[in-house]
């Protein structure tokens, strides 16, 4: 079914939205300790929402009522937490043993500055000088076990249990955004915009979730509480669209494992390891994109998971789908995303919401 193409006019990403994203990315919110981001979210949504609640795990649940009877109850989720570190043992002289929280490649850690705790106390993860390292040691990765966070001797501001993140400040570079935690502050920023501009044809149940990176724990209880008719998860998925090493005729061969591509628009999920997207919701998103001429792509089916994995299994089942802004280098000190992809993701989801009705589930 094709309808006449229309141009999407409504929501735009401007300086205000970028400023909110900047504050979100620069905030530190490791899974289980999302307070800094939660504060920004609450400040942004409180003036607009009919109901705001912080639940037992720290999720922010926001309701914007629709108009009319029998409106579809639509849950939207974006996670506030990022992967990071927790200090687990004080070895004295400002040196702390730490452990990772969420999926972090240990090879991203050595030689990096970090922020520790609520006050963003500066620290570093050092590495043994190359001069003191044996040749065969260099060949192997530095074991996580040997890395330490160093805040300098004599500090009384840092203790065991504090969390730490990469010390990256948000920047814009041409068409790109560079920051830590674009996964999933892009989703959070998008959801804030949708809460502020909630369409009246649906009951919007927005949740800013906690602990996604350690198993979608927040999403699970939020979905149980809301018990919506359907759910859309806003994420940022890896774009592995770099050139392959192998070449043919002097050119890299085709990259068959790109997952998603920067610049190709919002990435719609078909299936990942945790969820098989409801085909009706996928179809609705695709039809919306084609009607409004919004570029889109499919995120390659494969591994990984989003909050949809926890949501769709709650209660008697909740049809779910995820949509992502593609981003390179997630879970490292600096991720890169395109402003245009973010704009198109906001446009696609907003337009899709305005076109939703209970008929979506009539086969």
């Amino acid at each position: 079914m094709t309808s006449a193409k229309q141009e999407y006019q409504t929501l735009r990403i401007g300086a205000g939205q970028i400023k909110v994203l900047e504050r979100l990315c620069n905030a530190c919110a490791v899974s289980g300790d999302e307070g800094e981001v939660r504060k920004i979210v609450l400040e942004q949504v409180r003036p607009y929402a009919e109901e705001v609640k912080v639940d037992a795990l720290g999720n922010v649940l926001v309701t914007r009522h629709g108009q009319g009877k029998d409106t579809l109850r639509v849950m939207l989720a974006a996670h506030m937490d990022e992967v990071g570190l927790m200090l687990i043992q004080d070895e004295g002289e400002g040196i702390f043993r730490f452990d990772t929280v969420g999926g972090l490649d240990a090879r991203q850690l050595a030689g990096k500055p970090v922020w520790v705790g609520r006050e963003h106390v500066p620290g570093v993860i050092g590495a043994k000088p190359i001069h003191l390292t044996q040749p065969d040691e260099i060949k192997k990765t530095i074991p996580l076990d040997t890395l330490r966070i160093d805040v300098g001797p004599g500090s009384n501001k840092v203790k065991v249990g504090d969390r730490a993140t990469f010390a990256t400040s948000f920047t814009r570079l041409g068409p790109s955004l560079i920051a830590k935690a674009l996964d999933d502050r892009l989703g959070v920023a998008t959801l804030i915009e949708l809460v502020k501009n909630a369409p009246s044809n649906i009951e919007l149940l927005a949740v800013f979730t906690v602990q996604e990176e350690i198993g979608s724990r927040g999403a699970r209880v939020a979905a149980f509480a809301f018990d919506p008719d359907l759910a859309i998860v806003l994420e940022s998925t890896p774009a592995n669209d770099l050139p392959t090493w192998e070449e043919e005729d002097g050119e890299p061969v085709e990259n068959a494992h790109y997952n998603s591509r920067l610049g190709d628009g919002p990435a719609i999920y078909l299936a990942d390891a945790a969820t098989i997207s409801d085909p009706r919701l996928v179809r609705h998103l695709v039809e919306t994109a084609e009607t409004f001429d919004i570029p889109y792509q499919f995120r390659q089916p494969g591994s990984g998971g989003t909050d949809a994995g926890a949501i769709h299994r709650q209660r008697a089942g909740i049809p779910s789908v995820s949509v992502s802004v593609p981003g390179r280098y997630h879970h490292t000190p600096a991720a890169v995303a395109r402003l245009s992809d973010w704009q198109n993701t906001l446009a696609l989801v907003h337009a899709a919401l305005t076109r939703l009705s209970p008929l979506i589930f009539k086969d």
Partner: protein, 331 residues
């Protein structure tokens, strides 16, 4: 019953894409059901009867999804890269054939490796549908296919892909047909997405909220050359599950099943499965908990395109369930 089994196993419906098998089963069960509904994830839920004296609300679950594959990329030469849906293993793929839901047939090929004796990874496999370019390929990213193998009747032994768990579905369809009187209110649930993590049974059980749960699924056997060490064998009767890697069956339910089998002289085996679980796990952990067990059909070569069951075991499974459900449950 054999023609029912054939119809079920030959319908392509991998996890998440069960529409075809759902319609096949619906037409089989509709004449016998008080109510048929489809829930939010696509589970087919059939209700029969009311709770009478000494009766309870009992949920039976057999999953209607099968393992399969999903296209992840079509390269510029028209070859399709794919990922497994559920527990597919590369060594059952080599030289195999798949049928996409849009009808396209494909052959699974393999990249050449330095060590020809190593089992390839999924990244080294691809599907050839006979297209020469990406544009000419009728398959796109996200398209889903099931393995293609016809049902074969060897007399007492039946062979097909998707015996896991269409054989369980066939069994509970037959039970639905054969059960004349029961004090129980019964829910026959044909669940979705079991192979990717018991997803359908989780939500169906929450919705049904039963007093007691019974899954019907396949289990392995220990009777093939240098096979796993397991007491269950083909042809020695349906297996009463004591434990698998995801759940411990409620001992009271196991006891009830054993006593019934012995009283009615139905052959049975006791099953411990290491490496694999079923919808029963999801049932047991629902809400405030559900006493749950599982009746298993011994099956050789599970998750290969040629799964083998003993017809006698299947018929005895039907008998056993009819006996169990015809009378009040004493746990």
């Amino acid at each position: 019953m054999k023609s029912l089994i054939q119809k079920l196993v030959e319908t392509p419906s991998p996890s998440g894409y069960e529409a075809q098998i759902r319609e096949v089963i619906r037409s089989e069960v509709a004449p016998f059901a008080d109510e048929v509904r489809v829930d939010a994830l696509g589970n087919l839920i059939v209700r029969k009867g009311q709770v009478g004296p000494g009766g309870s609300k009992i949920m039976l679950a057999a999953h209607m999804d099968e393992i399969g594959i999903m296209a992840t990329h079509v390269d510029e030469n028209g070859f399709v890269r794919f990922m497994p849906i559920g527990g597919v293993r590369p060594h059952t793929c080599m030289g195999g054939r798949v049928r996409f839901l849009n009808g396209t047939l494909g052959v699974i090929g393999m990249e050449r490796q330095d060590d020809q004796n190593k089992v390839p990874t999924f990244e080294q496999l691809f599907i050839d549908v006979g297209a020469g370019t990406r544009a000419a390929c009728p398959v796109r990213i996200g398209d889903v296919a099931a393995f293609e193998r016809p049902f074969t009747d060897l007399g007492d032994r039946l062979v097909s892909k998707a015996m896991d768990d269409r054989i369980g579905a066939a069994v509970i369809i037959e039970v639905l047909r054969a059960l004349n009187v029961s004090p129980h209110q019964l829910f026959f649930v044909f669940s979705v997405q079991e192979e990717v993590g018991l997803r359908g049974a989780t939500t169906a059980a929450f919705g049904v909220d039963p007093d007691l749960g019974l899954a019907v699924d396949v289990t392995g056997t220990g009777d093939t050359p240098k096979g796993r060490k397991m007491e269950v064998g083909l042809g020695k009767g349906p297996a009463i599950k004591v434990r698998d890697s995801g759940m411990l069956a409620d001992p009271r339910v196991v006891d009830w099943m054993v006593k019934t089998a012995e009283k009615d002289r139905i052959p049975y085996q006791l099953e411990i499965l290491e490496g694999g679980t079923t919808d029963a796990r999801a049932l047991q952990l629902t809400r405030a908990g559900v006493p749950t067990g599982c009746l298993s059909i011994p099956t050789r070569y599970i998750h290969s395109p040629s799964e083998m069951v003993a017809y006698g075991d299947v018929q005895n499974a039907v008998r056993m369930l009819v006996e169990l459900l015809s009378r009040p449950v004493q746990l």
